[in-house]
Symmetry: C2
Subunit: 116 residues, 2 copies
């Protein structure tokens, strides 16, 4: 078992030409004994964005806080707190913050994918 405040989990920062202002945390993963899927929490700063990419595994996403947009199926769609997004395997996608507070979302991946 594990009961922990997300803030107590050390984040990994991502900043490059293709990703800006993103922090990722593995909330529940292999180190916790979770063998089947991995729950991460991402925080995207104001004006930040995740990389536009595609990969062989799916994302199950829930928007915990903030406002943003997701690029899926070739176009941008607005997202906000309480929305859910399913990214199937192989589909190009990207998230960006369009608000003035951090965009925070849960993103679950299968165990065979890199945890961060």
């Amino acid at each position: 078992m594990k009961i922990m405040a997300s803030k107590q989990i050390l984040p990994t920062a991502f900043d490059s030409d293709t990703v800006k202002g993103v922090e990722g945390r593995v909330l529940i993963g292999k180190a916790d004994g979770a063998a089947n899927f991995c729950m991460r929490l991402f925080q995207v700063a104001e004006n930040g964005f995740t990389p536009r990419h595609q990969h062989a595994w799916e994302h199950e996403v829930f928007i915990h806080a903030g406002h943003g947009a997701v690029f899926l199926n070739g176009r941008w769609t607005a997202i906000e707190t309480g929305d859910t997004v399913y990214v199937p395997p192989g589909e190009e996608h990207q998230f960006k913050n369009t608000g003035d507070v951090p965009l925070m979302f849960i993103c679950v991946i299968p165990a065979q994918a890199p945890e961060l």
Copy 2:
């Protein structure tokens, strides 16, 4: 792909001797093409609680809103917005709302478990 407000997904209500004031929604599941794991959103009303039970599959939980407590490892632990809880397979567990607003949490399960 799927982009949807959680509120647009019809909830299933649970009320009996062992569960009180609980609504569950399948945010992403087999009907969406998700073959490996299922993301649900639960809302527990003021004074409500989920059943105390155990089963062969794990829970990966993130507290989206509110305050509550989780029974795990034989004792109650306070939980609040932003906390994460891992319930390993076979471990007895229960969630309850201890606040004055709905307790809302994401709970992810493997595909072989019942979706709700």
